[in-house]
Amino acid sequence: MNTTEPIITIENLRVEFTQERQKAFALRGIDIAFYKDEIHGLVGESGSGKTVTAMSIMGLLPKPAATILSGSIRYEGKELLSLSEDALRTYRGSKIAMVFQEPAKYLNPAFTVGEQIREMVMLHKGLNKHQAEMRARELLGLVGLGKDGRALGAYPHELSSGMKQRAMIAIAISCDPDFLIADEPTTSLDVTLQLQILKLLKILKKMKRMGMLFISHDLSVIREIADRVSVIYAGKIVESASVARLFEHQMHPYTRLLLLSIPDARHRGKKLATIAGQVLDATNDPQGCVFAPRCPLAKELCYRESPKLIAHEQGHTSACHFAEEAWDL
């Protein structure tokens, strides 16, 4: 559906963590492509590999715990994984920027919001102090922190949680990045604030024509903001489609069950669907499908052979042997 070249392409990315001599598979070979002017939602439960994906793109996986076993991450055709730390730094913040979940922790408490913006535009855009000040003022207006620049001199603790997240967004977009990663940016916020931040991100994406990776555990938030959505489970992308398509029709049992397990007033009195058992242990490396042990439809083939992420109609991809079959859960 998108004919232009992607900004970022991830292919067969496999990441392993070593902790106390135990090996854990964080990503078991994922493929995603991100496009300009598109919000790509990545949804999954805790430990499924959402943040590891983000950190891999940023080149900020914790060392030496994490090892990239194989795969490639290309930014406009250029391989990021082979770049030196110094070369990568010129991308971080300027081309690819990131917004984190808890602004209270990810903003530096000892510096004003203005300083945290200024240092970035002075570094990447080569602005002088005065220009940086003007730029910071403009950005704060853009994210709804007032055009009079009062927030410039504020320390993070002087802002409410919603304002902190706006400030962090201002920092992230300060160098006009092509690609923005938002890792659960509204999870720590109240619903009314959440909606405001989602709207802000959507507006900024349109204005700046950015590509965006929006990470969330919450399918309804993804539905609200994303254009395309990928579902990740135990370090594998199990399904990917446009938002409209995915919420209409699921081609992986995990996605279907996830949707059915969301409580909703319309289903009152009816039992919620549950997914039996526990998430696949990260130290396990099964031969077959990662979801098979919990899948109500699993057959012998599912344990024997790992399904590939295959494209079906309308750009809908699924990693299920029985994606095309009409199953009922």
Partner: protein, 308 residues
């Protein structure tokens, strides 16, 4: 606005601390067994001599009267007159104080100059050569008594290689070795705190965010993390400074410097009670004042404290 409120509150606490310390000193000296007059008079003194000494000390009056007078005298910084030289205690102290104060300031400066760079380097390059150097330094610094280090420095740098004078404070060079022996031990403690504080800050989330901004590692360490790491160090440095004033007493002895330490030591030898009492109160006052200043400094540097 909030800062003034905080400063005022902190100042009230300072006054209260001084009041409590004074009270403790008063009762420790008066209430514990042993009449100072007897000690001063010695075995040969006649009862009338003792009475005269008591009158001079003021210890013949009721305790409550003495207590009120004592507090009033502290307010006026009037600690009476020396039993030996008959000069006002406060002027004796103020004559000697500048030297001791300079020594402590230099000691703290040396301590900070060693501890902070080495502590930061140890934290940034953990388990590297620098870290082990810092570790060895802090172990030794805490283990070696400062007077012994002083003697060692004298033997080496004043006698074997006579770079610095053997004693006296006639030239600034005379203060280098005493300040060094004073600073090294305290630097060891500051270094450990700096290392721990820096390691903690480097593991915080805002460091990850700073990396995601594409900032060079040096900026992340020496701007972002360091500012946060140094905040608690200010308070510790304040306390260390107080210790250095106390430690100077011994070091002055080693280097034959005419500072407060020597004054108090002789006062003890000569049982000069007003001078001893005045000295203790004075040191306590300075100690509280230094901590007050450190707290003020901390609240100015740390934007967060003004809310708490």
């Amino acid at each position: 606005m909030n800062f003034i409120k905080y400063a005022a509150k902190r100042f009230l606490r300072l006054i209260l601390t001084i009041f409590i310390i004074s009270t403790i000193i008063f009762f420790v000296i008066r209430v514990i067994p042993g009449d100072p007059a007897l000690v001063i008079g010695g075995v040969d003194a006649s009862p009338s001599d003792i009475q005269a000494i008591r009158a001079k000390l003021g210890t013949d009056r009721p305790l409550s009267v003495q207590y009120v007078e004592f507090l009033w005298s502290i307010l006026r910084l009037d600690f009476g007159r020396s039993m030996i030289s008959d000069e006002p205690v406060i002027s004796l102290i103020l004559q000697r104080f500048p030297l001791t104060f300079t020594l402590a300031v230099l000691g703290l400066l040396i301590g900070i100059l060693i501890a902070i760079p080495l502590g930061v380097l140890s934290a940034v390059k953990r388990w590297s050569g620098w870290d082990y150097l810092g570790l060895v330094f802090s172990q030794l610094g805490m283990a070696i008594p400062s007077f012994w280090l002083g003697i060692l420095l004298l033997l080496l740098l004043a006698i074997k290689f006579p770079i610095f004078p053997l004693f006296g404070a006639d030239s600034p060079a005379g203060l280098v070795l005493p300040a060094l022996s004073l600073g090294v031990g305290r630097a060891a403690i500051l270094l450990r705190h700096t290392r721990a504080s820096m390691i903690e800050e480097l593991s915080k989330e805002y460091v990850v965010a700073a990396r995601a901004k594409g900032l060079p590692e040096s900026v992340i360490r020496y701007k972002h993390a360091l500012k946060n790491a140094l905040l608690p160090i200010i308070t510790i440095a304040g306390i260390e400074f107080g210790y250095m004033l106390g430690g100077a007493i011994i070091i002055e002895q080693v280097f034959s410097l005419p500072g407060l330490g020597r004054l108090f030591l002789y006062a003890i030898y000569q049982r000069d009670f007003p001078l001893i009492q005045g000295g203790v109160v004075f040191i306590a006052l300075i100690f509280s004042l230094v901590n007050f200043v450190a707290d003020m400094l901390y609240s100015i540097v740390n934007p967060k404290i003004r809310l708490e």
